[in-house]
């Protein structure tokens, strides 16, 4: 038993010594050539910004930017610049550390153009071809204003959390989404980017070239052309609807009959005074209650009826 114990101890010592030796001898060499932690060539930065100093920086490994098997994946310096001054002087002397060449935070800022150029070096194509002419670009919005580049769960890329990011600036739309009638954005069924290409230069930065083409993506039954087209419908859905939210059902900007009377000056019932019927006997003029004018003009977006001139052309059929 004694010899077994001795043998085990000898073996263990040998294993330990054998294991530690290369580790100890490697230390000196590693000091000369620090190892990358996540990205190719990141040792230049992670020598200081390691898991203890900047754990959030290493989270880039969770993202597509951290997929080193993809040879296009950038290193730290591809986005932040070589930053030689920062590397040389950081931690030396009593003065403040010089910033990196391209910084993305308020404390370490670069111009919006410089920040975005860093991203556009790789991401200028696809839906971002027109970025430079977009309202966002022209108002100094940077990629990092919305995107958390080092985060595996970038809020703005997830439908549920995206509106939170957009409402940092778009307060009017945040207020509208709190209205009783709204697209299901607060519920996470849609996101702002369902309708908007925030990197593009279409009117209102929509995903399609016009309001109607954008709306038709989901509301294709309104596209027509119909036998009887309702002119404003064919021109711009936003004449009658506010897509972000309103107090009136179906995202209407105003309640019938007021909405309809913004275009229609007619004799007889179209010019009626707004008011509720007192009871069923007053239902012959149901232009305010329920669906208002649309109680009868039920195909208000357009009609394909070939029946009866007094009704078909006025969207009743």
């Amino acid at each position: 038993m004694k010899s077994l114990g001795k043998a085990l101890r000898v073996c263990a010592f040998a294993v330990l010594a054998g294991s530690l030796f290369p580790a100890l001898t490697a230390t000196a060499a590693e000091k000369e050539a620090p190892k990358d932690i996540v990205l190719t060539g990141d040792a230049k930065c992670t020598t200081c910004h390691d898991e203890n100093d900047s754990p959030e920086a290493l989270r880039i490994g969770k993202t597509k930017h951290g997929t080193v098997a993809d040879k296009r994946t950038p290193g730290c310096t591809n986005c932040h610049g070589e930053s030689e001054k920062h590397v040389k002087e950081a931690g030396r002397g009593s003065g403040p550390t010089p910033p990196v060449d391209v910084g993305f935070t308020k404390k370490n800022f670069s111009s919006a153009e410089a920040q975005n150029a860093s991203c556009l070096n790789c991401h200028q194509g696809s839906t971002r071809i027109f970025w430079q002419n977009s309202t966002h670009a022209r108002r100094d919005v940077t990629c990092a204003s919305c995107h958390s580049i080092h985060d595996g769960h970038d809020k703005v890329r997830e439908a549920k959390s995206q509106p939170e990011v957009c409402s940092n600036c778009h307060k009017e739309q945040r207020a509208q989404f709190a209205r009783p009638s709204h697209h299901p954005v607060p519920e996470g069924q849609m996101s702002c980017s369902s309708c908007h290409n925030v990197h593009g230069d279409n009117p209102s930065q929509l995903v399609k070239s016009s309001v109607n083409d954008t709306c038709y993506s989901c509301h294709m039954e309104k596209r027509g052309p119909f036998v009887h087209n309702h002119q404003p419908v064919s021109e711009d859905c936003a004449i009658c609807h506010n897509p972000h939210g309103t107090n009136i059902a179906n995202l209407l900007k105003a309640r019938a009959p007021y909405l309809c009377q913004e275009c229609h000056s007619h004799d007889s019932h179209p010019s009626s005074l707004a008011g509720l019927p007192t009871d069923r006997t007053g239902n012959s003029l149901p232009h305010t209650v329920g669906r208002g004018c649309v109680n009868c003009h039920t195909n208000i977006h357009g009609s394909n009826s070939t029946v009866n001139n007094a009704t078909a052309g006025r969207f009743r059929r």
């Binding site: 098997a69 027109f130 595996g152 009826s305 009704t311």
Partner: protein, 712 residues
């Protein structure tokens, strides 16, 4: 003792090895946690104590029962090949469920499939005798012996979307992307009989499909994206025949025969080819080009053409519309930074929506059977552009000035007898912008912006005046429709971001927009002016690394002043018997508060409060006295209060349990579905009898518990 020694010595050896390798393994673990994708699966159950007709329209939790709460976010990456495997599921136990699966070898190729369901359940309570909801034949309850058995009608629509996509890197800088969406829409929505206010539900069962094929080139200077986008709409129903039980016609005149044919949207499709291009002449100068052409058609056989009797087609009416709309777009853009302080942007855009649908007479006089009413194609040719310059001032201030212009030619219906609203055959609008902004500063950022625009319609096509007026005036031409009326708009926006210290920040935002709809001589009616004002404040304060509070409040008011006239049927005078001046106002007030904190290293909690009040008012002055039954509309106020809390406890390093509590209260005095005396609205004067109401107070509580398993 021997045993003890042996054990002790072996343990000592193990400790020595641990000293050598243990920290390295722990470091590896820490690094792995920091650098490898996170995954989680969450399983639980929740219970709502009451129905939530208003708040549960879209979220799949409308009714008062238990719900399975299942979410998953699984992200794995094969580091050797750079291949991602993702599965994401949200609300898998709910009606509003969605999930997606994706495999992608980054930089090479990938594919995904996703499914989502969006429910839209009507918040209204409907009790009706109607038969056949969801089909093409519906029968409305009659009166007396013809009353049909009443039942609850739950109107809801469901969108089931399947989206598949594929991408492949073909060559260096060249990618192919394919996307195909198939959406099935099912259910019924609120509709009407057409000739009288009788309740009918529109069947919306239909399929929409979208195919996008894009070839992209992303070079250092040149980027291109071109391809094809096709979309198809297929309606499973094309004509509804609605009748009222036991009557000869719904409105008891020959214009409204029983059975009444109600048209539905017909199948349509669109095909687009497009090319987007950008070229960076220098690092600071870039040109852009966008070209597209699409053809949208609707040529399904019109189903009502096959009807007989009073509904028979009119002479010369075609079986198909042969509808065709060709949309062309050409856009040129240029952005440049000639000096480090000066930036310039310019853009020219030509957008032509050309409705090529041939003109046919479709309907007309029921006695003569001569078609006098034609289809109404509308075309819009829009030329627009913008020029903008920005100049960087000291202290990171930037001054931005720009001009937008728009020149639109519009087609009016060809036949004067078929125009019932004045048309503008062209519109011009010029917008001037000026902004002073400061950004990228550490403590104070913000902007002041001013916009001034003038819209003018140069040529008006007069509408038809059905009655010959004795005074030679006009009723139909007395209005300026809001979208073509001459308008002057002035808009201010001020925003300020203030972050004096790392832990605290505030945002202030004020916007005010005023529209003046200039009156043209002889067209006094329509919108006179409008105003929209918004004030909001946001704040965030971090007490410590572990505790943070956020809050925001906003107040907005939108007003519109509208003037209109009232005339009797077939009046012979253009002078209205009543002038109506309405001041319409919508107001919204919202407050949100949020608290997040870590009580211990294992226990984190959070609470959110949302309070929103909306108010609408309809003040209307009339030039003539109202009758006793013409009661002014009351204001409407709706309030939503939602308080939600959660507590999350880490039972293990890789597993949490979470408790969620929500208290939700919705209150409204919306009279939309009420008679003037406040009783529920009833359709029809003698027939139908469908009762529609909304629940004015909706209070519900939610409790939910989840087990969350986390892994990498």
């Amino acid at each position: 003792m021997n045993n003890f020694n042996t054990t002790f010595r072996l343990t000592a050896v193990a400790a020595a090895m641990l000293a050598a390798y243990g920290s390295a393994f722990a470091e590896d673990d820490d690094l792995k946690q920091l650098t490898e994708p996170d995954s989680s699966i969450s399983v639980g159950a929740g219970y709502w104590s009451n129905d939530r007709p208003q708040q549960g329209i879209f979220d799949g939790m409308r009714d008062d029962h238990g719900y399975a709460l299942i979410d998953a976010d699984v992200v794995k990456r094969d580091d050797a090949t750079g291949t991602w495997f993702k599965f994401k599921g949200e609300g898998l136990g709910l009606e509003s469920r969605k999930f997606s699966a994706e495999v992608q070898q980054q930089g090479n190729m990938g594919g995904f499939m996703s499914y989502s369901r969006i429910p839209r359940e009507s918040p209204l309570e409907i009790r009706s005798g109607i038969r056949g909801v969801g089909s093409e034949r519906m029968t409305v309850s009659g009166s007396g012996a013809n009353v049909l058995p009443f039942h609850d009608v739950d109107l809801a629509t469901y969108r089931d979307l399947i989206h598949v996509g594929f991408s492949k890197n073909l060559l260096k800088d060249v990618d192919l992307k394919l996307s195909f969406k198939n959406e099935e829409k099912n259910g019924s929505r609120h509709w009407g009989m057409g000739s009288a206010a009788l309740f009918v539900a529109e069947p919306i069962d239909s399929t929409t499909q979208q195919l996008d094929v894009t070839l992209e080139y992303t070079g250092e200077k040149l980027q291109l994206a071109g391809g094809y986008a096709g979309s198809w709409y297929n309606n499973k129903n094309d004509l509804v025949l609605a009748s009222v039980q036991g009557v000869s016609n719904p409105r008891e005149d020959s214009r409204s025969p029983n059975t009444t044919p109600l048209s539905l949207p017909l199948d349509n499709e669109a095909h687009q080819f497009f090319l987007n291009a950008g070229y960076s002449f220098t690092p600071s100068t870039r040109g852009m080009l966008k070209v597209s052409r699409s053809v949208a058609t609707q040529d399904e056989t019109i189903p009502s053409i096959g009807l007989t009797g009073v509904n028979a087609p009119f002479a010369g009416a075609p079986h198909k519309l042969d509808g065709e709309i060709v949309t062309s777009l050409v856009e040129l853009g240029l952005s440049s930074r000639p000096t480090s302080k000066l930036s310039l942007n310019a853009n020219l855009r030509y957008h032509d929506v050309d409705d090529n649908t041939p003109l046919f007479g479709f309907v007309g006089n029921n006695t003569t059977r001569v078609a006098t009413v034609h289809n109404t194609p509308h075309s819009y040719e829009t030329k627009s552009g913008k020029v903008e310059a920005s100049y960087l001032l000291p202290e990171r201030f930037k001054l931005i000035g720009g001009v937008d212009f728009k020149d639109q030619d519009r087609s009016a219906p060809k036949f004067h007898d078929e125009r019932f609203v004045p048309f503008a055959e062209s519109i011009e609008e010029t917008t001037y912008r000026l902004q002073l902004r400061r950004s990228m500063s550490e403590t104070v950022n913000g902007s002041v912006a001013f916009l001034h625009s003038v819209r003018e319609g140069s040529v008006r096509a007069l509408p038809h005046e059905p009655s010959t007026l004795r005074d030679g005036g006009s009723i139909y031409d007395a209005i300026n429709p809001l979208h073509i009326a001459d308008r002057t708009r002035n808009k201010w926006r001020m925003s300020l971001d203030w972050a004096p210290v790392e832990a605290f920040s505030m945002q202030f935002n004020v916007e005010d927009s005023r529209d003046d709809y200039q009156r043209e001589d002889g067209r006094p009616f329509g919108l006179k002016d409008g105003q929209a004002t918004l004030v909001s404040v946001d704040a965030r304060y971090a007490f410590s690394d572990k505790w943070q509070i956020t809050g925001w409040a906003s107040h907005d008011v939108t007003t519109a002043e509208q003037l209109s006239g009232r005339w009797a049927r077939n009046t012979s005078s253009s002078i209205p018997n009543m002038l109506k001046r309405a001041d319409l106002e919508d107001q919204g007030d919202s407050v949100g508060l949020g608290l997040r904190g870590a009580v211990t290293s294992k226990l984190s909690i959070g609470a959110d409060v949302q309070w929103t009040r909306t108010q609408s008012s309809y003040d209307e002055d009339t030039s003539a006295a109202r009758t006793a039954s013409e009661i002014p509309l009351a204001d409407i106020e709706s309030t939503l209060t939602r308080v939600s809390m959660f507590a999350r406890y880490a039972i293990r390093k890789n597993a949490d349990v979470q408790l969620d509590l929500i208290h939700e209260r919705w209150k409204t005095d919306d009279w939309t579905w009420s008679f003037a005396n406040g009783s529920n609205y009833v359709y029809g004067t003698t027939t139908d009898g469908t009762v529609v109401s909304n629940k004015p107070k909706q209070t519900a509580n939610f409790i939910g518990a989840r087990y969350i398993y986390k892994f990498q």
